[in-house]
C-alpha cells in the first residue's frame, strides 16, 4: 500500500499527481472465500478490515450491490459519541470510541475525527433527571460525561440561546468532551483501502440475489455476477437487511424508516461543538467545510425512498432556530434522507441466526455511524471465532422472545 503523508503529497505534486495508485483494486470475484460480508458500507468494510488485520482472515469478499460506502455512511450527520444509558450499549459504543481515537493513524487515512464534544440539552425537570441518570451511568461505565449548567453551556457554545426567553429554556446538559464528528466518506474509503491492502476483495456492483443454504448451514451467496461460496456469511446491509433476511427465510424485528438531514450553506466557523436536544427535537454541528449539519427526526412510516416528509424538516429547523435564533437568516442548502433499519428497542442486532454460519449485523437505527469501528471489530471477532464477542452477545435476536430488551429509546430519542 502506498503510504500517505505530507511528504508523499509533496513528492506526488512534483510529478503532477500522475503516479497516485488506486485506493482499492477492482477484482473479479473468486469462486470461494472464507468469509463473505454482504454490504460494503462502513460497518461491512470495517468488519472486513478487522477480520484481515486482527484475526488473520484475509480470504474475504465484501459484496456490495452499489458503490462502497453508498448507504448511510454517505448520508449521516457524522456524530460520534458513546454516552449511552444502558451498560450493554455503553460498552459497545465506548469500544467504538476507543477505536475512533487512533483510527486515522491505524488506517493511514485521515478520517478527520474531530473531538469537539457533544452537548445533550435538558429543557424540563424530567430531561434533567434523564441527563443525571445517564451521566451517572456513563461515569461508572468509564465514559467521560458530566452535567453542565446553563452558564457552562454558554461558555462551551456561545451561539446557543441559554436565556429564559426561550419557550423551553435550557436547564442544563450532559457534556461528553471526547465525542465529536468525523468525515463520513473518508471512514468508508479508509477501511476499504486498508482491507484491500490486506487482501480483501471489494466487489462493487455485485448484488446478492439469494443464499445457498443446505441442511441449516450457509454455503454461500448467489449474486448477479455468479455464485460465491463461503461457510461464513455476515450480512451488514442496514436498511436492506430485512430484504436479505427474507431471502434466507429469516424474519428480523426491523423496520426501515426514512431519516432526514440537511445542511446550510457553508459558513465561517460559528459552532464549537455538537448540540443535541431531544426535547425540542433537533441537533446541529458544523463541518470542516463550514456547513451546519442538522439532523431531523425519523419519519414514522416505512420508506426506502431516501426521502421523508417535509414537515419533519420544518420541525427540525424550528428547533434549530429556537436554540440558535441567530441562524434565522442562514439558508438551507440541501436536504436528503437515509434509510435506517430500526429495532423495537433502538438497539442493534449482532447475532447468529438459525442458519449456521449466517450472521446479521443490523438494526443500528440512527446510531450506526458512530459505531462503525466498534461494530466492525466485534462482528469480525464473532465471525472469526464462530462465537459472539462478549460485547456483541447481549444484542442477540433472542432478546425479542425472552423480553431482555436494551431499551435505549429514552436515551436516544430523536437524535444521534
Amino acid at each position: 500500500m502506498q503510504r500517505y503523508s505530507g511528504f508523499s503529497l509533496v513528492k506526488h505534486a512534483l510529478s503532477h499527481h500522475e503516479n497516485w495508485q488506486r485506493h482499492w483494486r477492482n477484482p473479479t470475484p473468486k469462486k470461494r472465500y472464507d468469509v463473505i460480508i454482504v454490504g460494503g458500507g462502513g460497518h461491512g468494510l470495517a468488519t472486513a478490515y478487522y477480520l484481515a488485520k486482527e484475526f488473520g482472515v484475509t480470504n474475504v469478499a465484501v459484496v456490495e450491490k452499489g458503490w462502497l460506502g453508498g448507504g448511510n455512511t454517505a448520508r449521516n450527520t457524522t456524530i460520534v459519541r458513546s454516552n449511552y444509558l444502558w451498560d450493554e450499549a455503553a460498552q459497545l459504543y465506548n469500544h467504538s470510541l476507543d477505536l475512533w481515537k487512533g483510527l486515522s493513524q491505524d488506517l493511514n487515512y485521515n478520517v478527520m475525527f474531530s473531538q469537539r464534544g457533544v452537548l445533550n440539552l435538558a429543557h424540563t425537570l424530567q430531561d434533567m433527571r434523564d441527563v443525571q441518570r445517564r451521566v451517572n451511568a456513563n461515569r461508572l461505565n468509564g465514559i467521560d460525561s458530566e452535567v453542565v449548567t446553563p452558564e457552562q453551556i454558554k461558555e462551551i457554545e456561545p451561539a446557543l440561546d441559554t436565556s429564559k426567553r426561550a419557550r423551553y429554556p435550557i436547564m442544563g446538559a450532559s457534556w461528553q468532551k471526547s465525542a465529536g464528528v468525523a468525515r463520513h466518506d473518508a471512514v468508508a474509503w479508509g477501511f476499504a483501502r486498508g482491507a484491500d491492502a490486506l487482501g480483501v476483495d471489494l466487489l462493487q456492483n455485485t448484488e446478492v440475489t439469494g443464499f445457498k443454504i443446505r441442511d441449516g448451514q450457509i454455503h454461500g451467496v448467489h449474486t448477479n455476477r455468479g455464485d460465491i461460496e463461503a461457510q461464513t456469511v455476515g450480512c451488514v446491509a442496514a436498511g436492506n437487511s430485512g430484504v436479505l433476511a427474507k431471502m434466507a427465510g429469516i424474519k428480523l424485528p426491523l423496520e426501515s424508516h426514512p431519516l432526514q438531514a440537511l445542511v446550510s450553506e457553508p459558513l465561517k466557523p460559528i459552532l464549537n461543538t455538537v448540540t443535541m436536544s431531544n426535547h425540542v427535537h433537533g441537533y446541529v454541528s458544523q463541518s470542516d467545510k463550514g456547513d451546519l449539519v442538522i439532523g431531523a427526526g425519523i419519519d414514522g412510516y416505512l420508506g426506502y425512498g431516501q426521502r421523508g416528509s417535509y414537515p419533519t424538516i420544518e420541525h427540525t429547523l424550528q428547533a434549530i432556530v429556537e436554540m440558535f435564533p441567530m441562524f434565522s437568516r442562514v439558508r438551507m442548502n440541501r436536504q436528503w434522507g437515509g434509510i435506517v433499519d430500526t429495532c423495537p428497542d433502538a438497539c442493534p442486532i449482532l447475532s447468529k441466526t438459525q442458519v449456521k454460519g449466517l450472521y446479521f449485523n443490523c438494526g443500528w437505527g440512527t446510531g450506526g455511524f458512530k459505531a462503525t469501528p466498534g461494530s466492525g471489530h466485534v462482528f469480525a471477532a464473532s465471525l472469526a471465532k464462530g462465537e459472539m464477542h462478549p460485547i456483541a452477545a447481549p444484542f442477540s435476536i433472542d432478546r425479542f422472545h425472552t423480553g431482555a430488551l436494551i431499551d435505549e429509546h429514552g436515551a436516544a430519542g430523536v437524535a444521534h
Binding site: N110, N141, I270, K289, R329
Partner: protein, 1017 residues
Amino acid sequence: MTQSNRLNQGGRIDRSRRLSFTFNGQQYMGFAGDTLASALLANGVDIVNRSFKYSRPRGITAAGPEEPNAIVQLGASEAAQVPNVRATQQALYDGLVARGTNGWPNVQRDVMSWVGKLGGGFMPPGFYYKTFMAPASMWMTYEKFIRKGAGLGRAPTEADPDIYDHFNQHCDVLVIGAGPAGLAAALSAARAGARVILCDEQEEMGGSLLDSREAIDGAPASAWAEQVVSELAGLANVTLLPRTTANGYHDHNFVTLHERRTEHLADTAAGAGREGEVRARLHRVRAGRVVLASGSHERPLVYANNDVPGNLVAGAISVYIRRYGVVPGQRLVLSTNNDHAYRAALDWQEAGREVVAVVDSRAKPDGDLVKQARDAGIRVITGSAVMEATGSQRVSGAKVVAIDTERFVVTGKVETLECDTIASSGGYSPVVHLASHTGKRPQWRDDLLGFVPGEFKGMHVAGGAHGVYALGEALADGAGVGAEAARAAGFKEAAAIAVPDVAVRHESPISALYQVPHEKPPLRAPKQFVDLQNDVTAAAVELATREGFESIEHVKRYTALGFGTDQGKLGNINGMAIAARCLNRSIPEVGTTVFRPNYTPVSFGAIVGRHCRELFDPERYTALHQWHVENGAEFEDVGQWKRPWYFPQKRRAGGQERLETMHEAVARECLAVRRGVGILDASTLGKIDIQGPDAREFLGRVYTNKWAKLAPGRVRYGLMCKDDGMLMDDGTTSCLAENHFLMTTTTGGAAGVLEWLELWHQTEWPELQVYFNSVTDHWATMTVTGPDARKLMSEVTDIDLDREQFKFMDWKEGKVAGVPARVFRISFTGELAFEINVQANYAMHVWKALFAHGEKYDLTPYGTETMHVLRAEKGLIIAGQDTDGSVTPEDLGMHWAVGYDKPFSWIGQRALTRPDTAREDRKQLVGLKPKDPKVVLEEGAQIVLDPEQKIPMTMMGHVTSSYYSPVLESGFALAVLKGGRNRMGETVYLPMSDGSVHQAEVVSTVFIDPKGERQNV
C-alpha cells in the same frame, strides 16, 4: 464611479431611478431593475470574490441561480446579515451593502492567493485524507486552520429582526416558470377555469422572452409576455407569484415555493417601510398537477483558466445586454458548440462593442444565426475552441486551437486572440432538479446532450425543461401541456391556446464538447475548472478516477464536485462527461447524481415561518392560570402545559423582604398539606368519558386490574400496560353509572391513552359497544387535601361529607360554591382529599370561593414539586419518572393491582411470563433512606453494592425520585434496584461525580402512614 459598461439605452431598467449601493467598501450607483450582479458589471467591477480553495480571483459568470462565483455577504447591520447571497439573484435596492465572502484584506489583493498559488499543487482532491495525520495530537490544531479557510459567508450574531410566514395553497395546476412555455401553459389552464398558480424566480415574469431577439406576432417577445401576464393577473382563478422560486418538489405533488416579499427592497421589512410584513413567505402548495416549465441552464465549456474574471457563459452576455443595458467588456471571443450561443456575439456587436471572433467546435455550422453573424462581418473560426484564457485579474486573451473532439486532442497551431471577455457555451442542461426531488431519475438524451426529467404522473414538462428550445415550439408545447394538465385535473374541456406566430429558424445541430483538449495533458495543463465554487478541476476528476473512484457518487464526494451552494448547476454535466471520458464510458453509463431540495437555498426563517419565539410551541393553560400568575407561581413545563411548580411567598428576614427559595416554599407547602389544608390545580390530568354497555369489559381488557364489580359512585386506581407487559400509564377511573365511566390519565399521557383506547376498539374489538371522548378541557380539577380538608369543604358544599356517607374512593355530585360539581375522594398525597371537578368556565369562581373560606385554615396553594414530594412520601409512582418503559407492574410491587385470573387476557398479561419479565432479580421499586438525613440523593444517581469496585462498576439500579421531606426531616428517595424487594435493610452506595459516595438503606417505598389511615378519615 461611473457606470462605464452601461449602455445609454435599452434594457428593462429604469434609468430615472438611481440606486446607491456599497460593494467591498466602495460606493457605486445602479438603476432600479438591476440585480446586484448587473450593477457591478455596469460599474466595471471584475473581481467579486476569491475562490475558496486556491483563493483565485473570480468574477461574475452567469446571470441566474447557476452563478457559482458571485457569492456575497449582504447586510448593512449585524442583525441583517445574510450569508452567501448570489449577486445574480439579488435585486438592487438603495443602500444595499455587500461584500465578497472570501479574500483578505480584500478581493483585489488577497493574502491567501499566495497560498493558493504556491500550495495549489499540493492540494489535489482528497489531500486532507492523506496528511495531517502526524502527530495524532496535532489534528485539532490543523483542523482549526482548515476550518478557518473553509466556509463562505458568516452567520449574523444577532437575532433576526424580520419575520416570515407560510401560505397553504391548493390549486389544480401549478406552473413553475414563467418563460414562453410556462406562460402559454398557465394561460391554457387558466382559460379552462382551473385554479392556477404561476410562479417564477425572477423579479419579472417572462423568462427568456425578456432577452429574446425574436418576434412574436411581429412584436418583441417581451411584449407578448407582458400581455399574457396582464391577462392572467385579471383572472380570479389565477395566482401570480413573481420573485418566487419553486424549491422542493415533494411526494404527491407537494411543492414548496419561496416568495421574496421584502428582501428585494431593503435589508429588513422595516427598512423597506413595510413594518409588520414578512421578509419572505413560503407557499406550501398541494397541486393537482404540476407543469414544470423551468427552462434550461447553459453549460460553459471547460478550458484552461476558465475562471479568470471575464469568462462568462454566453447566454449571460445577452441577458446583461438586453435586460440590463450592460455590456461586460470591450472585446469578445465566443467559444461554442451550438447555434443558439451566437446570440451573444450578435447582441455584443449591436451594443457597439467588438466581437473578435466566434470559435465554433463544429466543422460546418450553417444555421440562420451563424449566417447572421457572418453577414455582420464577424469572424467565425470553425472546428476549434478556446483552449485557454490568458490574464490573471481579467481576461487578456484567448488561446484558440483546432481540436478533434473524438480523440480529445488539439490538431492545429495555437492562435492567441486579444480580448477581455470570453463567452462560452457547451449546450444546455434542462433544469431537471425539481423533477428529481421525488426520486425519479433524469434520462439522458443524446440528441439534446442533456438530461430530461424522468416521467411520472401528476407532473407535466413543458419547453426547455425537456429540451424544447425553439421559441415557437416552446410556446406550442406549453400551450398544449397546460391544457393537458388542466384536463388531467378535471377540466375536461380544456384546450390549448392558439399559438402566436413565430418565425422558424434553421439551426445546425449541436456537437458534443465539454472539456476542451489542451496542448498539455490534463494533469499538467493550467487549471481547467469544472466546478468553480468548489475549485474542482478537470484534473481533479481525472485524478479521482485514477485513484479508483469509479462511481460518479465517489467522484463527486472525493472531489466535492456539485457540493456548493449552486449544487453543480453549471458543472455537474461537464464533470460527468469528464469522468465518462476518463473511465471510457458514456455519460448515461456513468449516471447522474440525484438532486435534492432546495433548488436554491432558502433561509431557515422562511422554513420556520411563524413557528418561532412565543409561537414555537403552544403554551397550554388551565382555567386557573390567571390566578397562578397573579399569586407569583413559578411554572414547570409539563408537555405543553404550564403548571404551577411552586408558589414562593415573600419572607421577611432581618428587615429585608425576599422571595422564598424553592426549597423553602416546598417545605412550607408540604407541611400545610400534612398539617392543615392545601390546594392543587390538577386540571391538566387527562380525562376520558367512556360510555356504553361494554365499557366495563373494555376497562378490564386495557387495565391490569378488575373492573367487573366497580359500583356506580366508586373510584378505582388502574395500571395500563402495553402488550409487552411494561407500564405505560396509570390513573383512576370512576364509575359514573352502570355504563358510564370517567377515566383519568397522566398529564403527558392524555392524548396517547385516548388514541390507545381507540386503537384497540377500532382494530381488535369493534364489537364492543363503547365510546370514548376527551373531556380533559371541559372539566377543571381542584384537589383540596389535608387534615382540614373536610372542614373547609363543609363550608362550601351541600354534599354530605360524613366519612361513612362519603368514603375513601367514593365520588359524589353536588354543589361547590354554588356550582354543580363532581367530587372524588381520591388522594395522591396520602391525606384526606377531595378532588373537585367543575365545568372549566366556573373554575375560577370555585377556586376563589375556596380561598375566601380557606383563609381561616391557611389554605395553601401548592404546585407540582410539593405534589411530587407528598406522593413520593406515600410511595406513589409517577409514570414516566419512576418508570421508563422497562418496568412491569410486578417490578413496582403492585401485584395487588394485577388481575391474573380475569377471563380475558388483558393487554400486557401474556408478556409478564416471558423468561426475562419473570426473572426474580429484575429491577424493583424500593425506598432509599440516606444514612445522612441531610443528604438528598441526586435523581438519576446510580446504585452499586461495592463502592470499592473499579470502573466499570456493576450498577444495580438508580434513583428515580428524591426529595427532602420536611415531615421526616430527612432526605428520602424512590429507586429501582435489582432484586430490591429482597434487599430490605441492606446498605447500598451511590458514587457521585464529585468523588463522594452516599450510603442509603433499602426501605419500603411508603415513608409515611403505611396503613393509609390519614387519607381514610
